[in-house]
Symmetry: C2
Subunit: 298 residues, 2 copies
């Protein structure tokens, strides 16, 4: 099977269509890379790009995107609801097939170095590429946001991994890293009581004593008159989708509230759902090589 | 996505390696075709070949295989435990991606015609390609086997669809058809009582009043001291894997017997297992286009 890496850069422009298109064009025209999706949110004033391709293709396309963003976006006038610290805010590389996490970490370091040195932007490595434990969590790295970084960057513990050691006023700074694919999975409850969803979310998520790789919060679905436990599974291989689902169901039992459905948002790796089939059907000794489509693609 | 068809020819030689290799070589060397697997059974004296490829590639490779088999295998001296009516016994074509069943039916008719006219072998169309209801079921077509066909072929209702109207002594006759992918799925029970597995099999399978697209029988797993309900799901889109599993479990309850595991034999279409994940996780509005690997392959 071919070596494939996914890359999901987030950049700080979600309103100006001509800027957005010019940036996305850097991915569209890249060799060995396929643009799978891009979506902009005006309130967040932010665009998320999803591409997949060969290691070389993705490496070049990610740098070219950051380069175009540095040219066209000015953070000193940027406003938006989503937390952000730079014009190219975050660039994660994700192993998809025949690629190790180690290779993605090395790749993220090469791209981070180029963004730092060639574009003169302070770069922080995060998640699996992080240089210290404190830098693993993107939320920790980004805390203070663009506006706060003029002071934060001066602290010894927040010296950038690459690039200048003072803020780039126009571009802010950029987080570059490597991580496993994220699964966005929401479980719908048969109640309109947001407190119940919140309370379940707190028990299921890592920071509340729950599952190691689950982030969760309660959300109201106004139009359906129900609530949901909205989750990000940040390592579906270690914290399986079905385990998060069963734990929500178990906690909902306490309130006599039924699970009325669930939803998978965006793209998911095939294995995250095949794992659920294996669990519920009690399949022994299953190998992903038994999946017809996988064999055909090889 | 590229047009892809699977083809799984079965031929009547499972012992003579040089013959087997010579036949399989016709697939290996074919353009636009990939040999996914081939396995021979000495007791059955039979080899099953699995290939996948473009419609044109698979069409040529299937005929070339039948042609090589006609040259090398002599049915008049063939013995084996598995039911068979010809040297190339059965050639099913299976739509995999971007191909309709109608296209597979047309393809099977072209291949059947060539085997009939160019190789002088009586050909019966079966399953979705069948010319009459009686010829849909391969077991019905093959009844009497090679030895019985010298008489059976004379009956009006068993006049071949293509080729000569008398037996080919050396090659027997061949069934060519189109069908959906078959899923071989076995459910293991926590008992060594074969009668229980048999009794459950009879209730779950179509002919016993069970699920429309399930064939089933009880089987003893001597080495593990347990029994299993061994099933062929001949249309997993209409009779889902999870439904067959749940029905076996439900019937096992009557005997207080637990389901201790299950197994998927050989290759399975991704959707047959994703369907189970959707069911058990109660996923709403899921689309196969959300599978990352599928999007990447497109």
């Amino acid at each position: 099977m071919a070596k494939l890496i996914e890359c999901v850069p987030n950049f700080s422009e979600g309103r100006n269509k001509s800027v957005i298109e010019a940036v996305v064009e850097e991915v569209r025209k890249a060799e060995g890379v396929k643009l799978l999706d891009y979506s902009s949110d005006a309130d967040h004033n932010r665009t998320v790009v999803t591409m997949v391709g060969t290691p070389e293709g993705v490496e070049k396309a990610a740098f070219n995107l950051a380069s175009k963003v540095a040219e066209l976006i000015d953070m000193s006038v940027h406003h938006g609801e989503h937390p952000r610290m730079g014009a190219t805010d975050v660039v994660p590389f994700i192993p998809i097939s025949d690629v190790t996490m180690e290779e993605c970490i090395e790749l993220s370091k090469r791209v981070g170095k180029r963004i730092g040195e060639e574009l003169n932007i302070p770069v922080y490595l995060y998640e699996d590429a992080a240089s210290t434990v404190d830098r693993k969590n993107l939320a920790e790295v980004r805390k203070g946001q663009y506006e706060g970084f003029f002071e934060k960057i001066k602290k010894t513990e927040w010296k950038p991994d690459f690039g200048p050691i003072q803020m780039n006023v126009k571009s802010g700074c950029t987080a570059v890293g490597a991580r496993v694919p994220l699964v966005a999975f929401n479980v719908n409850l048969g109640t309109n009581n947001l407190e119940i969803a919140d309370s379940i979310a707190k028990k299921v998520r890592f920071i509340g004593g729950g599952l190691r790789f689950v982030k969760a919060m309660g959300v109201k679905l106004e139009d359906r008159g129900i609530v949901q436990v909205s989750m990000n599974l940040v390592n579906y291989e270690k914290t399986a989708v079905y385990r998060a689902y069963e734990m929500v169901k178990m906690e909902a039992n306490r309130y006599g509230v039924p699970v009325v459905g669930s939803e998978v948002i965006g793209l998911v790796p095939m294995k995250s759902l095949i794992d659920a089939a294996e669990y519920y059907l009690q399949i022994e000794n299953f190998s992903m090589d038994q999946i017809l489509e996988k064999r055909v693609a090889e």
